[in-house]
């Protein structure tokens, strides 16, 4: 537990010393989402319909942007070697890195989403569900992404390969996340979509740290 807190604090501290990296992800998200209303034009009906999809896809893509850095810098300066030799569980350490990654690259997107949603004329209810969905979904993106980041460690052109590996795995998250917003817009219950997202989150919490830890050991050889 102490290790978990230590790793989260360390990664947040490093992120704060390199604010440019964090802001790039956030600005990418803002730009991509803002381009759609400009491109589509002022057709409120169409914008309202596509809002959730656009926001989710943008969140997915911008979380891909920062995934490459999750282990790469630690790998290059040798810190990762020391982490693999930590006498505590490596899965716990990896979980710490995932949480820190989400706080730096996922949480800002969630906080930004309602403001951006207004550009699409989303209703307050739909915005609320969108945020709940993103809150449940973005940690999953960080966790699944960490597996890909660990597997592509040290590879040339790893960034593209990483997206190809991770994006297909994130499709369920995208479907449930946008499905929930669509359901509330049509006056249906959102419980099923959100509970499925929650279930995926719990599954990811249990399995991805361990899988990532194994992937890191393989990549280290």
């Amino acid at each position: 537990m102490k290790l978990l807190v230590l790793v989260i604090r360390r990664d947040l501290m490093l992120a704060m010393r390199r604010r440019a990296d964090v802001l790039t992800t956030l600005f990418f998200f803002v730009m991509v989402v803002s381009l759609f209303p400009l491109g589509v034009g002022p057709e409120m009906d169409m914008l309202r319909k596509m809002a959730a999809g656009v926001l989710w896809v943008a969140a997915l893509l911008s979380s891909m942007l920062s995934l490459g850095r999750l282990f790469a810098t630690d790998y290059l300066d040798g810190t990762l070697e020391q982490m693999l030799l930590a006498p505590q569980s490596l899965s716990m350490l990896v979980l710490g890195k995932m949480i820190a990654h989400w706080m730096v690259s996922g949480l800002p997107l969630v906080l930004m989403a309602p403001v951006l949603g207004l550009q699409f004329d989303m209703s307050v209810q739909a915005l609320g569900i969108l945020i709940v969905g993103l809150l449940l979904g973005t940690p999953i993106l960080s966790m699944i992404g960490a597996i890909g980041a660990a597997l592509t460690l040290g590879l040339r052109g790893g960034g593209v390969l990483l997206s190809l590996l991770v994006l297909p795995l994130c499709i369920p998250v995208l479907i449930f996340g946008t499905g929930a917003v669509e359901a509330i817009a049509n006056g249906q219950s959102v419980a099923s979509h959100l509970s499925l997202l929650g279930a995926v989150l719990v599954l990811a919490l249990v399995f991805t740290p361990w899988v990532t830890a194994q992937a890191l050991r393989i990549s280290m050889e």
Partner: protein
């Protein structure tokens, strides 16, 4: 304590060494010797478990290290070619985090005194990116002072160090051996430590 039997390692198709056996008991120090590319680093990395040996067994107190995992990691301290320090953090933060990850939490005073003994007085709070190569190596080596590990695995610890620092490392090694510690290391510089054995890879 540490026992290596009939170890064989290769990089790609190239066999580095085979049939390598040696023992290391408390209070002993072993220098791995050999030309560039003879497999010194690979041997040390195999000891840490980063590299799967082709054949042979590495055991600690009679138990295979591959089975001990975290229990074994608590016994060793590995210092590789890479310093494992973050440019954006200062020396103090680097040392405290590195020690924390390897399982011993330091308070600020302990960390400061370790860095001062490594000759970094007045530079504890500078970002490590402004330090010289040798000073960065000193920050990395400060971990030797704040660790409970029994076996030190040091890969070229003397790179970029000046004469004073080399003497300091010799002293640290002797202190560690006096505490019944064990050391296995590689270097291309002469190191004066009594009882030094050499293992030649060729």
């Amino acid at each position: 304590m540490l026992e290596v039997t009939k170890l064989a390692c290769s990089r790609g198709d190239h066999r580095l060494f085979s049939g390598l056996s040696f023992r290391l008991e408390p209070g002993q120090i072993l220098q791995v010797d050999g030309a560039n590319g003879s497999g010194k680093t690979s041997l040390l990395r195999a000891l840490c478990g980063f590299l799967m040996p082709d054949e042979g067994e590495i055991s600690w107190g009679g138990i295979s290290t591959a089975k001990m995992e975290e229990e074994f990691y608590a016994k060793i301290l590995y210092l590789g070619h890479l310093n494992a320090i973050k440019d954006d953090l200062n020396a103090l933060e680097n040392l405290r985090i590195a020690a924390g990850i390897s399982g011993c939490l330091l308070d600020e005073q302990q960390a400061v005194s370790a860095l001062q003994r490594m000759g970094l007085r007045g530079r504890e709070r500078l970002p490590t990116k402004v330090l010289s190569q040798g000073q960065r190596r000193r920050v990395a080596l400060a971990r030797l002072l704040v660790n409970q590990a029994k076996l030190w695995i040091l890969d070229e610890p003397l790179t970029a160090l000046d004469v004073g620092a080399v003497h300091l490392i010799e002293t640290l090694l002797m202190e560690h051996l006096a505490r019944q510690g064990m050391v296995i290391f590689t270097t291309h510089q002469p190191l004066q430590v009594p009882g030094l054995r050499t293992l030649s890879l060729s």
